[in-house]
């Protein structure tokens, strides 16, 4: 492999070669930075590229690798969604209101990755405050899909998905509140996992909807996602919601064996409105699972049609509270004004984009006097029904398999003037957040335009090993030949 193609390696392969000293982290990082320089003008996956500090991290990783002190991600170049606080590096959340914010601290997962010797090549683009399904809501412009530059990368973590798909880095961090890892992974043809709620610390991750937000990785293979998740997961005293359960060695769970695995197929996820190419591809994947020894079980998740309505009340209510902190006083944008109230109102008017305003307004309304019971409380009760649907399903099956999204990547601008239609693109991912479950997205085919199609594998709480094993078994059985985007 030419040194200019090292950026195409998986984390697992690069790890082996780094440890054997066949390649250096400096060469690997240089290959990623060269790729970034070559494709970014067309792709725009990054808000900030951090070239010099990345090369310093790589040199330090090479020293550790030489000394035989090399944790899993030592020397591996990663992209970081611009929602993670990174000491000394601008952290904008793709918002004008934070365009000049340079945090004085690291998010817990950033500190963990730093301690392992990972290399950060840049901060990736996203929908402003993670609100969106296409990365078109970024204050810095959209990220294009590497498979077709006229199409969206998905969202909100579209920059991370596109960067991994385009080999600008070996893996990346995203966040997922209603599908923000899985949908862009599906649109860009890479692997992404949203772990169980509370599996990974959110300290230093800019909050959107705190009962739904979760941290997770993007990778080029299920194995790489397993390797990354092990490094990210675990208790953190700085996040009181973070689970104290021990973290399994997820890579060891990848046995390739799915004999006897009971796969639940929910009828509510194969309904009219789904792109026939997506349905065909996911159904073919299910038949493939049968051939390699799994059993298919018809299940019902009857409250699925209510998930989007439930989500857009719960998530916006929580967002309206979380985003109250952006007041122009201690950090971020400040619009000059005569008095404090006018200062807040002008700062927020100038600093927030249209979608963020829309969600703050909706959430404030859902929580306001006279509407709380009819909207917010009702949504929290429906959330219970959605959660119970899954509890019942997991009595008869081990994992649930569905499409990630009802279609493949749509055209830039296609849904921008119709917020509700945009929200409906999250229909298959949102219930997983409402129920707090882990969900894995991986490529299962391509449509007639060569656009990637994603399959979602959902597990019971803390069943990451089961969904990663199922995903890995599919991947290594050779059912799909992955297509590298021609950029």
């Amino acid at each position: 492999m030419a040194s200019s193609e090292l950026n195409r390696l998986t984390i697992a392969d690069a790890g082996v070669r780094l440890r054997k000293r066949e390649i250096s982290s400096t060469e690997l990082t240089r290959a990623c930075l060269d790729r970034i320089a070559a494709v970014e003008p067309r792709l725009h996956a990054f808000i900030t590229v951090i070239e010099k500090p990345a090369l310093v991290q790589a040199a330090e990783a090479d020293r550790r690798l030489g000394a035989g002190d090399a944790p899993a991600l030592c020397g591996i170049p990663l992209g970081i969604k611009d929602i993670y606080a990174t000491t000394g590096v601008a952290t904008t959340c793709a918002s004008k209101i934070l365009s000049n914010f340079v945090p004085p601290f690291d998010a817990t997962v950033i500190a963990k990755l730093r301690a392992e010797g990972a290399v950060f090549v840049g901060k990736t683009n996203m929908d402003e405050f993670a609100m969106g399904s296409s990365t078109e809501n970024s204050a810095f412009g959209p990220t294009m899909n590497p498979h077709d530059l006229s199409r969206v990368s998905g969202g909100s973590s579209g920059g991370s998905a596109a960067a991994v798909a385009a080999d600008e880095c070996l893996g990346a961090l995203g966040t997922d509140t209603g599908g923000s890892i899985r949908e862009p992974a599906s649109f860009c043809g890479v692997v992404g996992i949203k772990p169980t709620y509370s599996r990974v610390s959110r300290y230093g991750v800019i909050a959107f909807a705190s009962s739904l937000d979760q941290v997770g990785p993007f990778a080029k293979s299920v194995r790489d996602a397993a390797i990354m998740l092990r490094s990210l997961a675990g208790h953190d005293p700085r996040d009181s919601t973070c689970s104290t359960r021990p973290v399994p060695d997820y890579e060891r769970a990848l046995t390739g064996d799915v004999k006897g695995l009971r796969i639940g197929v929910p009828k509510e996820y194969f309904v009219s409105g789904i792109d026939p190419a997506v349905e065909r591809s996911v159904r073919a994947a299910l038949h493939h699972y049968e051939r390699i020894g799994a059993k298919l079980i018809d299940i019902s998740l009857p409250h699925t049609p209510y998930a989007i309505a439930c989500y857009y009340l719960v998530a916006t209510a929580e967002a309206s509270a979380n985003l109250a902190r952006y007041d122009g006083i201690r950090y971020g944008l400040r619009a000059p004004a005569e008095d404090n109230i006018a200062l807040y109102e002008a700062t927020r008017a100038q600093g927030f984009g249209a979608e963020v305003k829309r969600r703050i307004m909706l959430g404030t309304f859902a929580l306001s006097t006279g509407y709380y019971d009819a909207y917010y409380l009702k949504a929290m009760k429906v959330r219970t029904l959605i959660r119970q649907d899954f509890e019942r399903a997991f009595e008869t099956c081990d994992v649930v398999v569905t499409p990630v999204a009802p279609g493949t990547a749509f055209k830039l601008g296609e849904k921008m003037n119709d917020p509700l239609t945009m929200y409906l693109s999250d229909i298959f991912t949102i219930s997983v957040n409402l129920a707090g479950l882990p969900g894995l997205a991986l490529p299962c085919g391509y449509d007639a335009n060569n656009l990637p199609i994603g399959m979602q594998i959902i597990g019971a709480p803390f069943a990451e090993e089961a969904i990663l094993r199922a995903g890995d078994a599919f991947e290594r059985s050779g059912a799909v030949t992955l297509k590298r985007p021609a950029l």
Partner: protein, 98 residues
């Protein structure tokens, strides 16, 4: 067209609560968007949830306790470094009390 789910007056009230200044065109645009979204979420009304308990949090039950100890060291300069306006070690804001 069915009756409006939200009026312009309500939009102005919510904008005041949310501390967001809206222009006249933005108010009307938001009213139309919120109207459409609220009409959609009305489908929750099809469900009888009178005996269902709300889900507030899906994590594991209980809030872990810890000793009330200071774990960070004071670093005023780092905290003030992002301030839009500052003076002598303080955040500077418009006059609040006459």
């Amino acid at each position: 067209m069915a009756e409006k789910k939200i009026t312009l007056e309500q939009v102005r009230h919510v904008a005041r609560l949310a501390r967001i200044e809206l222009g006249p065109a933005e108010e009307e645009h938001l009213r139309a968007d919120m109207d459409q979204i609220l009409a959609y979420v009305d489908k929750l009304g099809e469900l009888d949830v009178s005996t269902v308990l709300p889900t507030v949090q899906v994590g594991e039950s209980g809030t872990p306790m810890r000793m009330d100890e200071v774990t960070n060291s004071p670093n005023a300069e780092a905290m003030l470094a992002n301030a839009p306006a500052r003076e002598r070690g303080y955040f500077k804001v418009p006059k609040i009390i006459e």
